[in-house]
Amino acid sequence: MLEIKGLTAGYPGKTVLKDLSLSVPAGSVTAVIGPNGCGKSTLLKTACGLLPVSAGSVSVNGTPVLSLPGRERAQRIAYLPQERQIPEITALRMVLHGRFPYLSYPRRYRAEDLRIARESLSRMDLAGLEETPVGTLSGGMRQKVYIAMVLAQDTPAVLLDEPTTFLDVGHQLQMMEEAARLAKDGKAVLLVLHDLTLALQHCDRIAVMEDGRIDISGTAEEIWASGCIDRVFGVRLCRVETPNGWHYYCER
């Protein structure tokens, strides 16, 4: 369970998050949606301790994480940023770095770390690509390597910032399946999405954010019923019934 309470944070001279509270139950995928600049990425960065906090707390399974040393925090909460470097290392080495928080000095990876990294790659259907340089992989495959790194980090809470950006529709759906698999493992998964359709159809819960606060948080049905997407985004949220359930789309 990831619990964010009364979080106030931002950048020097600019408060972005204003007394924000949000609960992400274990075993579920929660999407944060909201207009550009409302503070979605800042929320994720702050929740994993990359940005300083003015007030509030973040706890994982009841343990406040923001006051923990970096390595201990990284054993509880994993974060995949939106902007990522493409290092000139192999896929296996990249995934092994997910075990970094568990190493004490001199930080040499152990046989156990290697086993976990290989299992994580295998789970992401990347077995056989261990020695392939990350830079030579396609965008979708690279994304899978990053998710494998998060798997290897083995934390109860996982934060993903726009994991579907730059991916084609096939890889986007695959990414959502991976998020669901993480949740099935009992993790609390919080991700930022721009695609409202993906969020409403593939996430257990949706948190609508506006101007540094969570407007409403609930299931797709509850969000639909609230009508808040129409107001926050200035669009008209529509839905049609399909054999696989409701399909959501937006109109101006």
Binding site: L80, I89, H97, G98, F100, T136
Partner: protein, 330 residues
């Protein structure tokens, strides 16, 4: 570690050892292996012994140390700034160390420790200035490079100004600015060697941190690495390595740029392999260049700094062109 990469590391070590041996043997006055052995056993008792102990050994050690230091410094700076075009020279390290040495010469402070410490201090200050300027202006990769160019140019201009105002300084720093090992002495080499060996050991012990840092500031931070502590530490280590090298070898270009690029092509970007290969390869590259500079116009010496730029520039361009070709095919 796969077999191919192990073979590459061993081959680089053997080539560098061979270059070091040739550097001890060859020069204006050649030495035989027997003479070197006698010099090692008996000390500087005859002409050959004195050539070995006072000229060849410090010079070869200087080449090895300088090459290793500059190449590792370049690899570290490139990893920390996520920019393969970054190098000690581009970041103003050489200019900072150069200015400090010029100030030392102008003030008449010529002791080995003082010059090494000044070069180190100047290099660190230049890097800190560049990092500070980049942070203030957005810290993008481009601003780091542009900041380095601007600060490097400014510091070089200050060096020139001092050399103009105090003409004796120009005489003392002339060979320094070209770069070379002709005037290396134990006195100047030992303090810098201590700094270089400490710097190399520290970087080799922190290769995993360097790799995690090269994943990007946010990813590294989310993995529990203290980016605010580790990044300046690496930049200071890089400045220490380059500054110490500059203190006795002067301004040698392209080593910090060319060797890490070649190393990456051979063993990839993992620091646990790349850093040792850069140390070995950089040492061998500079030793071979110095040997060539000594032999091309023997008994006269060609400035090794000029030779390295003549070799380094086209080689680097070739690497860039081949890399672009490879990317196009992919």
């Amino acid at each position: 570690m796969d077999k191919r990469k192990t073979v590459i590391l061993i081959a680089a070590a053997v080539l560098t050892a061979a270059a070091a041996l040739l550097s001890l043997l060859l020069g204006a006055a050649g030495l035989s292996l027997r003479q070197i052995w006698q010099a090692v056993c008996l000390g500087p008792q005859n002409a050959a012994g004195r050539i070995f102990w006072y000229a060849r050994l410090p010079r070869t050690a200087a080449c090895l140390l300088s090459g290793a230091a500059l190449a590792v410094s370049g690899a570290v700076i490139q990893a920390v700034l996520h920019n393969q075009l970054a190098s000690p020279g581009i970041l103003g390290v050489n200019s900072g160390a150069g200015l400090a040495v010029t100030v030392c010469c102008a003030c008449g402070v010529l002791s080995g420790w003082a010059v090494a410490a000044a070069a180190f201090g100047g290099a660190v200050l230049a890097v800190l200035l560049v990092v500070f300027a980049a942070r203030k202006t957005g810290a993008s990769r481009t601003t780091v490079i542009l900041g380095g160019v601007a600060i490097g140019g400014f510091l070089s201009a200050l060096s020139e100004a001092i050399s103009t105002l105090v003409p004796e300084t120009a005489m003392l720093t002339g060979s320094f600015r070209v770069g070379g090992f002709g005037s290396v002495s134990h006195l100047r080499l030992i303090p810098a060697a201590v700094l270089i060996l400490v710097g190399l050991a520290a970087v080799l012990l922190l290769t995993n941190e360097l790799d995690v840092l090269s994943l990007g500031e946010q990813t590294a931070g989310s993995l529990g690495l203290s980016v605010k502590t580790v990044r300046p530490l690496f930049l200071i280590l890089a400045a220490m390595l380059a500054g110490a090298s500059v203190s006795f070898a002067g301004l040698l270009g392209f080593v910090g740029l060319l060797v890490p690029h070649m190393g990456r092509k051979l063993v990839g970007g993992e620091s646990r392999l790349l850093i040792p290969l850069c140390a070995i390869g950089g040492a061998g590259f500079v030793t071979l260049c110095d040997l060539a500079a000594r032999l091309i116009f023997a008994p006269h010496e060609f400035p090794v700094g000029i030779l390295m730029s003549v070799i380094g520039g086209p080689c680097f361009l070739l690497l860039l062109i081949r890399r672009k070709g490879g990317a196009g095919r992919a």
